[in-house]
């Protein structure tokens, strides 16, 4: 139950606003900027909920703007507010591509109209971009067309409250296709010696649907994957497999609102009527221990007041057939280091002073190969900080491995059935494994 939504710039000054309920003073938002400033001065902790004078400021940050919801009702569900604010960012992203101060100013009016449709008396309404587009374009607003080409110009408008609120009727494509991407992101925290502290697989099944009518889709996933509670591992990991826990938490699955959850609950079948265009069908998470796909052995020696030595051995622990691409290893170095000197067998290394780090890039890293590098940087002779307060930034590793999933999940079939049109359709499937946001090696 938000009373008003504000877009604010980086300092907290309002850019654009929409009031939904008449129970907060117009001036409430003016306090937001000073509240932010005060907090920043006091400490670095700025929680996303602030209270001042019985008014609650709930906000999220996105690029250079704040999205603030104001309310004075304590029973306001924050989950609703935050989920909604992020939804706004999503929707605007679809309309404007980038959501930042400049684009907000430029597209002032369309945002206005969207805010009108997205929420009613502080209660979220329709938030599916595809549905909104048909609704907002009705009002012949030009930017919409500019932002994204419209494919079905002559689509008849239908009530927004159909039983399938995320898909409108009468969608038509010449060629009916569905593209399915399975992307697994690996998050891992390792010690310098290669010992694993934490690892998880975050998987997303993304679908781009270009299908006519109201198709009913059924997705089958290999039983050796998630559903039979067994992991298939690639050859190199055979030894480890036996030790691994075979049970995978089914409950970690999260589905898009189009999936019939009760059907999944009872029969373990994923069936759905997809929204048109791109969406995330489901995401899952596995916390089984996995072998690091890109394994690093780091050795950092600091000779205080003179130089720092870094040795790194990296190994691609994947099938011989697979290749990791765009591998990037970002190793932090002290801020005051300079005059770098590198030795390396593959890829390229550069010193990135603005991040205080060196970046080792390897474009293609075939499975089973091991590469190494050594770097030496000079340190100033006068050191100000004591050694305990050294840089604790972790080493970050990024990579992509196409045609490969770590969990072994595979699509068995994607059945597409449109009861009325009965057309032929083509499902496409693609797999990729990549590093998550947090594939890091902790330096001691």
């Amino acid at each position: 139950m938000a009373s008003a939504i504000y877009f604010c710039d980086i300092k907290g000054r309002p850019l654009l606003s929409r009031k939904y309920r008449d129970d907060i003073p117009l001036t409430a938002i003016d306090k937001f900027a000073s509240l932010l400033a005060d907090l920043e001065e006091e400490s670095s902790v700025i929680p996303p909920c602030l209270t001042y004078n019985n008014t609650q400021y709930l906000f999220i940050q996105h690029s250079d703007i704040y999205l603030v919801a104001i309310t004075n009702l304590l029973r306001t569900n924050i989950a609703e507010v935050f989920a909604f604010l992020y939804k706004i960012i999503d929707v605007l992203g679809d309309y404007l591509k980038t959501v930042e101060e400049e684009s907000i100013r430029d597209n002032y009016v369309i945002i206005y109209e969207l805010l009108d449709e997205l929420m009613d008396y502080g209660i979220p309404q329709i938030t599916e971009t595809k549905m909104l587009k048909q609704y907002i374009t009705q009002k012949s607003f030009k930017l919409v067309k500019a932002a994204k080409k419209k494919q079905n110009a002559a689509r008849p408008p239908s009530a927004l409250t159909d039983s399938v609120s995320w898909r409108s009727e009468g969608i038509k494509y010449k060629k009916n296709e569905a593209f399915l991407d399975i992307v697994e992101s690996i998050n891992m925290l390792m010690t310098q010696k290669g010992q694993i502290l934490r690892s998880e697989i975050l998987g997303v099944v993304k679908i781009k649907s270009r299908l006519s009518g109201m198709p009913d889709l059924k997705l089958g996933i290999n039983d050796k994957g998630i559903f039979s509670k067994q992991l298939t591992e690639d050859d190199t990991n055979n030894n480890a497999t036996s030790k691994k826990q075979n049970k995978i938490e089914l409950e970690d699955l999260k589905f898009h609102q189009c999936v019939r959850l009760s059907k999944f609950e009872t029969e373990k079948i994923i069936t759905f009527i997809p929204p048109d265009g791109d969406f995330e069908l489901m995401n899952y998470r596995l916390s089984t221990s996995i072998k690091p796909l890109i394994w690093c052995d780091m050795n950092v020696q600091v000779h205080s007041n003179s130089r720092i030595e870094i040795h790194c051995r990296a190994k691609a622990q994947i099938k011989k057939k697979s290749t990791a691409t765009n591998v990037e290893i970002l190793i932090p170095v002290p801020e005051d280091a300079d005059t770098p000197n590198f030795k390396y067998s593959h890829g390229s290394i550069k010193w990135v002073p603005e991040k205080s780090a060196i970046l080792w890039k390897i474009r293609s890293f075939p499975g089973g190969k091991e590469y190494s590098m050594a770097a030496e940087l000079c340190l100033p002779s006068t050191s100000s900080k004591s050694e305990e307060v050294q840089n604790k930034k972790p080493v970050q590793v990024k990579f992509q491995i196409p045609y490969f999933t770590t969990s072994g999940i595979q699509v068995r079939y994607l059945k597409i059935n449109e009861p009325k049109l009965q057309y032929k359709s083509y499902p496409w499937v693609r797999y990729i494994t990549q590093s998550g946001d947090d594939y890091t090696i902790r330096l001691i």
Binding site: S44, A79, E265, R442
Partner: protein
Amino acid sequence: MSDQRVFARYRANEIRLDLQNVDIKKFKSGTTKKKNALRKIIVNLTLGNYNEMIDLLPEILKFWQIEDDLEVRRICHEYTRSVGSMKPKLTDEILPFVLKDLRSKNENLQIMALRTLIFVPSPPFTSEAFKFLMSLINHRSDSIELTRTAIYSLVQMDDFDHARISGLLEILLDIVSQSSEEPTIQIAALNTIYAIHEKHQDMKPLGISIDTCFNLLSLLPNLNEWDKGLLLEALPASVVPQTHDDVFDMIDIVLPQLQHVNMLVVLNTLKFIVYLLNYVDRINETLVKRLSSSIVALLNKPPELEFLLLRNVILLLLSRQTPLLEFDVSYFFVEYYDPIYIKDTKLECLYLLANSENLPQILDELEQYATDIDIQMSRKAIRAIGNLAVKLDDNAATECVHILLHLLEFGVDYVVQEIISVLRNILRKYPNKFKSNIREIVEYTDSVQEPESKNAMLWIITQYSDILPNYMSIFQNLTSSLLEEPLEVQFSILNSSVKFFARSPSAETKNQCMGIIQLCINEIDNPDLRNRALMYDRLIAVSGNIGVTNPGISILQTIVDGKLPVIELNSKLDPMVLEELELNMSSITSVYLKPTSQIFRGNRTKLLPQSPILVTDREALKITNYKGLKNKGDSSTKGMPKRTATMSDYDKPAEKVNQLKGKRKSTLNGPSKLARKPSMLMRRLSMKNPF
């Protein structure tokens, strides 16, 4: 867009000029320019340029008459709302235009007009709004959108005239319970009733019958994500289950929603389940697992959502002796790039999750954080280690102290301050366990600087003076700057000096003690401190001569140096407060973890409604596993579908769903038994071969 920037401050005259200019020019290019000019008005209203913009009212009215473009209308309505809430008097001349829109055939225009009517706080607007709403609710409109907007708007109207709205509540309740209605309308009605009940403390809490509740729950699959959230928001405390069977059925129905991607749905499902668990006779282990893993899966949400989630995790962890959640602690390890508020909250979770099994793992992490570059974080981690030692048993304390002493060796300034402060608490809990380490600790006497750590150090030295041969010299060292110390340290010094005297009365200790007392009396202005010093002065005078055998001294000893009670960390919340917080999960109160009534007045305190099956003693409620339960009370039914089927059956769940269907139907309109047969077959098949 155009030659002029839309997003800038303008004067009324400039915009008026824009609007007039285009009238002369060609029609087509004119429209865009006009629109741009109108947009400028809205921008300026947002920028707070009200006084200028109010002058443009005649222009707006002119456009209202001649343009029927929806966007222009939208701007006109927006203008009315902004101006109306500032200067309600001005809007009277707009009213006819709004009413014209309201009677138009266009659904969008009608909605817009209705919103404007309700938004402007002026009596003519409000009474028109009432008129329209009454007629709409009595003779329903075909437009779902309009009906829904109207129903939601009743909450706002309630502010104007509560009595009139109360009369409508019956109609709304009818809408809620009529399954012939459009689901989204039912939810809108439910939500409106709920909101109005929440607003008025004098009203009885909302009550929903069990049948209606099952009907509403059966809508779940057809609702969009927000409506799902709203439904689950309104149910806790409104539905009062009367039998255990009902409770388990409800849990079964909502359980799949835990897999929804929208956090609102998941948290509200969680809230509903947690609420229902107050009315059960047992909790199944698998349910605990499901709740826990649904939470873990949400930890990857953006930081703001993660923060809210973590706060609610804390609440759930606090709520029972054996918590409803089981986690692997590693999910709560702090990541380098986490915002600080997340780090903070994760630390709290780690602290609450700690037990003797996972302690080594947690301590390893905390030790890492203690050497973190961020000072606040490092202090908090140390504080957490110290608190863990006090919270857990003495084996744990040994490990904690070991780590603290290890950290102490680094000698970083703020780390030392924090460690000394927490060590005092540990020593108070385990007075005799760490005697051998006291000397090591006391070596840091010179590095303590902050009042709290100084106090702690003074306390340690005083308490363990018997094993410190040179305690006198250390103490004198600390007291040398008595007059410059902050008040709390002065108190400690005074107390310690008297304690020393009471413990070993000698000329030396007496001199020192009297010296400090005199200083406090003569040199320091604080009346409390002076009073305390005077009291000690008299006490010592009364106790008489120096000599251990002197009875006066032993009395003095018992007064100033008595036995200290064992301390305990109180992390438990008052059960009443907990009850309220649980019912307010995922609301603002859950972030502050304080009861609504305590910090914010004028809010209804939520309480668990009474029911014959309300659990009175939570701790007696056991979390059981599935085997022991399955045939509880009646072992002959071996696996046959029972109404009280437990959570763990979800690998053969078709049974249960069918059961429910049967039940719901029987409460509705005659059961259709035929439907059951084929699905029995289906179930068999699906059990053997899930795919």
